[in-house]
Amino acid sequence: MGYTNLFYILAAILFILGLKRLSHPKTARGGNIMASVGMLIAIIATLVASDVLDYKLIVIGMIIGSIIGATFAIKVKMTGMPQMVAIFNGFGGGASALVASAEFFSKTGAGAETSFLLSTIGLSVLVGTLTFTGSFIAFGKLQGFISGQPIVFKGQQVLNALLAMMMIAFAIGMVLVPENMYYYFLGLLITAAIIGVTLVIPIGGADMPVVISLLNSYSGIAAAATGFVLLNNGLIISGALVGASGLILTNIMCKGMNRSLANVVFGAVGLEQTSTSGTQKQMNIKSYSTVEAAMIFDSADKIIIVPGYGLAVAQAQYAVREVADYLETKGKKVLYAIHPVAGRMPGHMNVLLAEANVPYDQLKDLDEINPEFEDCDVALILGANDVVNPAARHDKSSPIYGMPILDVDKSRTVIINKRTMNPGFAGIANELFGYDNSIMVFGDAKQMLTDLLKDLKDL
């Protein structure tokens, strides 16, 4: 036993270092491998240490598990990653719960139940089960088996509260009234399972990553609890590690979406989302965060920036220049497309960009730039609207029909930044926003560019 612990410590150390490395782009991959080695050590140590055990059974179990896990991991599409993590995590939580249950049945059978043991078992089962069901709901939502829309109904909170109370009650009952602990145990199991569902159901698909991260932290806690059940240092340390670090990560993610954890977990948010999409007529527009925009830029080589009146309103001339400069340091080609009537006076954009000392040779006028869009990876539209409205090309009925426009839609991706879906000077809607290769990043141009720069640097 003693030496096994030694190996557990070793494993723990590898986990710690692994996690550290995982949070730095350059070392991430090595970190992951480190952690997996740690796991291997822990497993082997356990196998060696635990005498008289049914290797056959275990090996079978492991093989089955490995196959399932591996296939999943290989098959899944990149877009499906989050939900993958969700199920895996679910299984982890499930395992903890099962182990605890196993202990429950065996130990209690042997009448060896101490209140400490029982309470730890209770905790482990509770958290484990909750994680299990919760994770699967999350999976379902992301996979589209369940509506990604938040599912809310009256008195939801009340219900949750009730369930929670029951759960606690069962747990306590189990410890205090051993004679009919089996019932309590069952009750606990069931309520926990239900809560797992009711907690996740009301949360919108967009917020799932946060939820998964939270559940991940839970599964860590479950493992730690199981560690107490088995008085096993390895489980305790690793579990605690994951539990704690998971919580931190969850927080970081919330901050990223600048939301509070509470705000994410208690569904309210989901609703906002649908309401905004009301104003957008039939067009279904894709609204992205600056983080995602940053990734698009990361993979682009040629970028054309299209400034408009909005850039002037936001006084974002300096911000845009920083972004451009940064992109150039990354070896990308950056040009500015100046539409003759962008802004509100002749040469408005020139005045604006000159203020930020944008080199003249980067400014291209309509005739020079339009051919350039053909092989442009990203066109970044900053507070411009009418001057990039394709209606001017084909829609005879449009008041701006015949006005020469910038053919931004020719470029591979068009990223449009404006505050709302409101029209520009000409007061007409812009179909460009709905195009397949268009992406909206809403917000004040200056703010958006500042965030974008930060995210670019964080890549």
Partner: protein, 90 residues
Amino acid sequence: MDMINILTVLILAVFVGFEIIAKVPPTLHTPLMSGSNAISGIAIVGAIIATKVGGEIGTWLGLIAVIFATINVVGGFMVTDRMLKMFRKR
């Protein structure tokens, strides 16, 4: 093994957990989550032990536990590795 010690260990471990993750670039959120999730598959150790100590029901629960945990561990680490491979700079 006395409670106090376990407690000590737990607390310290929690502190380490809180500290090791400070700043994480958005791109790494998912991989990190997935990686640490794989670690939480440590439950496998428990599962293995369970199969031994478990007795009838225990053994079977243990077996399922082993399967579950293995899925978590193997799948977790592999998926993480796949994600991270993507991020390699071209």
